[in-house]
């Protein structure tokens, strides 16, 4: 039974199944709140599950002339990466003892995998729109990864550790990371990078539906598309939790009060994301690139300097 424990962790509880079900639920919250902002009813609660079920039922078309292996493997790579990252984030919060040296770095790497999967899948599908989407995704990764890594660096400088468990313990002892000038700047930068990672407006440039017909996903159909949608749903769950873990005092699920606080924190971040998403138009790729490598990286560097000064 001891051998089955990691499998259970990976596939059921903090892993794939749990993240998928919860992620799709919050995907529905996203659609429902967007609908309320546009003063309409919005989809019923089971809508996102129905979408995934329907996509699993549909035929999978692999375009002629595409690289079959990369085309099929790309969505699986993305899903595996994000489920693993989500599993680690949940596990270290539930039990700080399981934290290992460098797990923060591992999660940072795993969070890039969905973007990489989009690039591989887009490039493999032999469609001009997908190629454009893949090249845009690549540009976006270059643009937002630098400020993203810089703001995560501030927590490492503050707690002098690259272990999740110690960062959370530091926050329990000394108050949340966000409760300082540098912390607030870091949270703002993290939030903007999160929008770009989620491929949400105003940074949904690689997936621009009205412009390059879904971009990297243009050739995907059926189950493979479902896996991409599921990856996106899990990202919507995991990235705000990553923000909470690093800056807002960690996830506490040991008591009812803790769970309520966690839900509150998560919903506030989610609703901010939705508000930004549904009130902003799409930026051009060059505008987004300048925005990330200009003001956002500047803010991130200021945050790092302030952290070193101890403000």
């Amino acid at each position: 039974m001891e051998i089955l424990k990691p499998v259970f962790y990976l596939l059921v509880f903090p892993g794939f199944l749990f993240l998928g079900v919860l992620g799709l639920f919050f995907m529905w919250v996203d659609r429902k709140v967007t609908a309320l902002i546009q003063s309409r009813m919005g989809p019923p609660w089971y809508q996102c599950y129905a979408d995934i079920g329907k996509l699993l039922y549909k035929q999978v078309i692999i375009p002629a002339g595409s690289n079959r292996l990369s085309f099929v493997a790309a969505p699986l790579i993305g899903l595996a990466g994000i489920s693993l990252a989500g599993g680690i984030i949940w596990m270290v919060n539930i039990n700080k003892g399981v934290s290992f040296i460098g797990d923060l770095i591992v999660v940072m790497y795993l969070l890039v995998l969905p973007s990489l999967a989009l690039i591989i899948g887009g490039a493999a599908s032999r469609n001009p729109f997908s190629s454009v989407g893949a090249s845009r995704e690549m540009t976006m990764v270059f643009a937002y990864e630098l400020p993203f890594i810089l703001v995560v660096l501030t927590t490492i400088i503050r707690s002098k550790s690259i272990i999740f468990g110690e960062i959370i313990t530091y926050q329990i002892q000394n108050g949340a990371m966000a409760a300082s000038v540098s912390g607030i700047i870091a949270v703002i930068v993290f939030f903007v990078c999160m929008l770009a990672k989620l491929c949400y407006l105003p940074f949904d440039i690689p997936e621009a539906e009205s412009e390059i017909i879904g971009g990297t996903l243009a050739e995907y159909s059926g189950a493979l598309l479902a896996i991409f949608k599921l990856t996106n749903a899990i990202m919507l769950l995991i990235l705000p939790l990553f923000l909470i873990t690093l800056f807002l005092g960690g996830i506490d699920v040991s008591s009812i009060k803790g769970i309520l606080f966690l839900t509150l924190k998560y919903l506030v971040i989610l609703i901010l994301v939705i508000l930004v998403k549904s009130t902003h138009p799409r930026l051009r790729i060059d505008q987004a690139f300048k925005f990330f490598l200009g003001p956002i990286t500047g803010l991130a560097i200021i945050s790092v300097i302030l952290t070193i000064l101890g403000v």
């Binding site: 309409r40 809508q47 329907k54 039922y57 539906e209 017909i213 879904g214 243009a218 059926g222």
Partner: protein, 166 residues
């Protein structure tokens, strides 16, 4: 398990609309049906940009000879199972161009059609009614038996793969 997935199909229809030499009137009405005022998303209907993601094709216009092969390609690029709506008088039977030299005359001459929504252009309510018939929310307004006697093509059951019939 399979039947659950089949039920999911009716709860989530992603549509792709295409203009097969229409005058744009029906396209405007289709977009109107998807606006917040009519809110097609409450039935799970969503507009997608790529035919690969689509479950339903909304075809408008009396198909001209130029667009005929493209429409066939589009039909093939939508993964099974799929529903085809012919929207507008032109798409249902050629409309006022039924005897034109360059018009094939109706979408069903080129690709199999499941649902016809006549009107010039049909009101957004009519389009939503057609969608509701497809989803099984309301009953059909015409007697299918009567149409079969007149030699109309048989309707394919919604959510059924076309390849299953062969």
């Amino acid at each position: 398990m399979f039947s659950i997935l089949q039920k999911c199909f009716k709860k989530s229809i992603w549509v792709y609309h295409t203009n097969a030499s229409a005058c744009n009137g029906c396209d405007i009405e289709i977009i109107n049906a998807l606006t917040p005022f009519y809110d097609a998303e409450r039935f799970g209907i969503k507009l997608v940009g790529s035919p690969r993601h689509a479950d339903a094709l909304l075809v408008t216009g009396a198909v001209s000879r130029q667009v005929c092969p493209r429409l066939k390609t589009l039909y093939e690029s939508v993964p099974d199972p799929k529903i085809i709506f012919a929207i507008g008088s032109c798409a249902t039977g050629g409309g006022i161009w039924f005897d034109s030299y360059n018009i094939v005359g109706g979408v069903d001459k080129v690709i199999p059609v499941n649902f016809y929504i006549p009107g010039c252009p049909p009101r957004p309510e009519a389009i939503l009614f057609g969608a509701a018939v497809a989803l099984g929310l309301v009953d059909k307004k015409v007697a299918a038996e009567y149409l079969k006697e007149k030699g109309f093509p048989e309707l394919i059951e919604v959510g059924q793969r076309v390849t299953d019939n062969e």
